[in-house]
């Protein structure tokens, strides 16, 4: 599934038209249920797969992110994210086979802090670090673990960025996504379905940033002029959540 970009402010929903040869999110959930797996069981391999998918999706939307950032910031968010994720993947590649997922997430976080330019590096980096700490020592994450990790990620990002909902930041996409995931898990849904919810929530959150006036970041200096433009950070956040869908390596990106 590819995300077609319309105009500058629009990222078209990918879920509506899922190509037949690839499992849609609902199919994946059915598969998981059919296979008798009621826990997702995220391993370090899954994290690596996610990073690869994330990098691909970011590369595909690099220009969009740069364009959005040009309206509100300094025009390099797309470049920063793609460079940082590529650097992270390269550095981790062929690393030790430590199965500790929490530790890997933490290392990813530190690599993002160092490798992603702009504010995004520090913010996403903190998110991953806090997520890793929340599940330190675990070699396979349950859905509940994921929920805890995601929640820690969002709280860490909010702390680092000193941002609140409505400030027109990454958080406006991340927090709704995390809450949607947790709600799904608490309602007993399997992780893939909850991730699907999270992706929809992230999409809505991303779009909700458009009419907001920026209260954090470079866009802050624009004041009223920041209205009417979608936040690039919230956009990249949606893309990352989207990349979480599809667990197996090589599956839908």
């Amino acid at each position: 599934m590819s995300i077609r970009t319309g105009d500058d402010h629009d990222v078209v929903e990918p879920f509506v038209t899922a190509p037949a040869d690839r499992p849609g999110p609902v199919d994946g959930a059915r598969q998981a249920l059919a296979g008798g797996i009621d826990d997702v069981g995220v391993t370090v391999a899954d994290v690596t797969a996610f990073l690869v998918r994330a990098e691909r999706i970011l590369v595909r939307h690099r220009r969009l992110l740069d364009r959005l950032d040009a309206k509100l910031g300094d025009g390099d968010h797309g470049e920063n994210m793609t460079v940082g994720f590529a650097h992270t993947i390269r550095t981790l590649d062929g690393g030790d086979a430590d199965p500790d997922v929490g530790d890997m997430l933490r290392r990813v976080g530190h690599l993002l802090v160092a490798g992603v330019g702009g504010a995004g590096g520090s913010l996403y980096g903190t998110a991953f670090i806090e997520a890793g700490l929340a599940v330190a020592g675990a070699t396979m994450l349950t859905a509940a673990d994921m929920a805890r990790a995601l929640d820690a990620a969002a709280r860490g990002l909010a702390r680092r960025g000193r941002c609140e909902l409505g400030d027109k930041t990454i958080l406006d996409s991340m927090r709704p996504a995390v809450d949607a995931f947790r709600a799904g898990v608490e309602a007993g849904e399997p992780a893939p379905a909850s991730l699907c919810r999270a992706a929809y929530a992230a999409l809505a959150g991303m779009r909700s940033t458009t009419p907001l006036v920026a209260r954090r970041g470079l866009a802050l200096r624009l004041g009223e002029r920041s209205r009417g433009h979608q936040d690039p950070g919230a956009t990249s956040c949606f893309l990352l959540v989207r990349a979480m869908l599809g667990r197996a390596p090589g599956s839908a990106a």
């Binding site: 000193r162 409505g166 400030d167 470079l218 802050l220």
Partner: protein, 552 residues
């Protein structure tokens, strides 16, 4: 491997956690500093920068209000530049609104100095920092100048969190530099705008060259005078622009070198670091024209020295001189003609033994010539009055026919003059005019008709046109060509008849125009199929009583 006892394990974990959190805390502060740096690096409008910075710091410091004062460069007084409230952001249907924590603040708009600012913040429970710029003057001397003062107000009864206090301390120097830079940018922009306004507005041509004789600046007047470069053309040398002295080749190969040769005054002034004033010279414009100018050259010091030339176009001066010259010649001639008539008749009266009838005729002719002289002198006087705008009209209400009748005896009186027909209805509304001046206009127009109007009769007519009375003097002469129609009323303009030999000072119609315009009227050439007609308008005198409509 020995297993660590459980309580030690958790204590260790707790300690590790604390260390980790402290590190993250530290990183948070670094990030806050980074975001502020990023904001400052984007530069921009000073008020916007100030506003954004305070918003950031208010948020980072958990403050309820923040304000920034800046010192104007060179002054100690701090002026309030921006203030921002803190508060929770709430996303609603109409977007995000901010509810303020606490009451709105009233902050002083001005402080006498940093000391006063510090006193105020202390007394009111705020936390502030001075933003100062420091320069190391060497030998242990540091020159500190206050750029501004920034203060945050903690929530009631509280203090800023340690992170907030620390952040303020960390960023104050960077803020000083950034705001200083913004102030300088503003000042520079103002200076440039002023310079541009001056350069664009002056009539003189201004040309600046650098030490390699490349032209670095021309003002619009220079571009017009010299047909010089538009903005995007390649840079010219002063030789190409002004035709400065030839360049001596530095090497024998005949290649042009930029160090110049004799004749270039820019070079003279640059190498001598001097000034040259009142140089009368001829510059060569780009289209090959030679333009006489009066020029002044000045040296422009600096790391890349240069010179500035101010050129005054002398052609306008010279043409006015020429006009004055020819005018004086014509006036002299005009005065001489009646004078010589007078002296002629006086001589003959004295020398010859004329009979009383002949004597009477001679005296009459002397009278006419004297009247003509008087008219010319009046014209000249009026001219000086125009120049000094002290015309002094003596206006009174009268019928135009009265003026025309008064002159009727003079119009067409003398032998050789063609008859003048008068067609002025007696029921024309009254006008408020200076009878003598308007009489002057009429006699001038009729005079012209006599001189240049061919052979046919001359007609003076008048009619009403709405709120004006229009008087027309018409003759059957050669007429006035369309392109001359506006020019004939110009000062010093002498038409083709003048050129063909009939002398005139060229003042007559100009004086008529000024006099008519002084009355609030206009004068123009009517389009006629035969001959010429010059008309002028006079506003109808306002009636004292206005009739009221019944029942209004």
């Amino acid at each position: 491997m020995t297993t660590v006892p459980e309580e030690h394990e958790s204590a260790l974990e707790a300690e590790r956690r604390r260390v980790f959190e402290d590190a993250q805390h530290e990183a948070d502060t670094v990030f806050a500093q980074y975001q502020l740096s990023q904001l400052l690096a984007l530069g921009g409008d000073l008020p916007v920068m100030a506003s954004s910075v305070i918003s950031e710091l208010v948020r980072d410091g958990n403050a309820v209000w923040g304000a920034l004062w800046l010192a104007a460069p060179g002054e100690g007084i701090l002026e309030l530049v921006a203030q921002e409230p803190g508060g929770r952001a709430e996303a609603g249907d109409g977007g995000v609104s901010r509810t303020q924590a606490g009451r709105p603040e009233v902050v002083p708009t001005r402080f006498a100095g940093a000391g006063a600012a510090e006193d105020w913040t202390r007394r009111n429970g705020w936390r502030g920092v001075t933003l100062d710029e420091r320069r190391d003057l060497g030998e242990g001397t540091i020159d500190a100048r206050i750029v501004g003062f920034l203060a945050l107000r903690p929530p009631d009864g509280g203090e800023l969190p340690p992170d907030g206090i620390r952040l303020l301390a960390l960023v104050r120097h960077e803020l000083a530099i950034a705001f200083r830079g913004a102030q300088l940018r503003e000042a520079l922009a103002r200076e440039q705008a002023l310079l541009a306004a001056i350069l664009d507005g002056v009539n003189d041509a201004i040309v600046a060259v650098d030490d390699r004789r490349q032209v670095v600046r021309v003002n619009p007047a220079a571009a017009t005078l010299l047909g010089g470069p538009r903005a995007r053309q390649r840079t010219l040398t002063c030789r190409e622009l002004l035709g400065c002295g030839p360049v001596r080749a530095a090497d024998g190969a005949g290649e042009e070198r930029l160090r110049c040769g004799p004749g270039c005054r820019f070079e003279e002034v640059i190498s001598g670091r001097s000034r040259l004033v009142e140089c009368e010279q001829v510059v060569l414009a780009r289209d090959g024209r030679e333009v006489p100018v009066a020029a002044a050259y000045s040296y422009m010091p600096g790391p890349r020295p240069g010179a500035v030339a101010v050129l005054r176009d002398l052609r306008a001066d010279r043409s006015v001189e020429e006009l004055r010259g020819s005018f004086l010649a014509a006036v002299s001639h005009d005065l001489r003609t009646p004078l010589s008539l007078i002296t002629g008749y006086v001589d003959s009266l004295l020398a010859l033994d004329l009979d009383p009838a002949e004597q009477r005729r001679s005296v009459e002719r002397i009278g006419h010539a004297a009247a003509r002289l008087a008219e010319l002198v009046e014209e000249l006087l009026d001219l000086t009055h125009f120049e000094s705008s002290a015309l002094g009209l003596q206006r009174s209400r009268m019928h135009l026919s009265a003026v025309v009748t008064r002159l009727a005896s003079d119009l067409g009186e003398s032998p050789g003059m063609r008859p003048v027909h008068v067609a002025v209805p007696s029921d024309l509304p009254q006008v408020e005019i200076d009878a003598i001046r308007i009489g002057h206009v009429l006699s001038n127009l009729v005079d012209n008709a006599q001189k240049y109007g061919g052979d046919g009769p001359i007609t003076v007519s008048a009619r009403r046109d709405r709120s004006q009375v229009i008087v027309t003097v018409h003759d059957r002469g050669g007429g006035i060509t369309p392109d001359e129609r506006t020019k004939v009323f110009d000062r010093f303009y002498r038409g083709r008849d003048a050129r063909s030999g009939t002398q005139g000072s060229g003042l007559g119609l100009y004086v008529c125009r000024r006099l008519v315009e002084a009355h609030g009227g206009r004068i123009w050439v009517e389009s006629e199929t035969s001959g010429s007609a010059i008309s002028f308008s006079l506003p109808i005198a306002a009636t004292g009583q206005t009739s009221r409509k019944a029942g209004a």
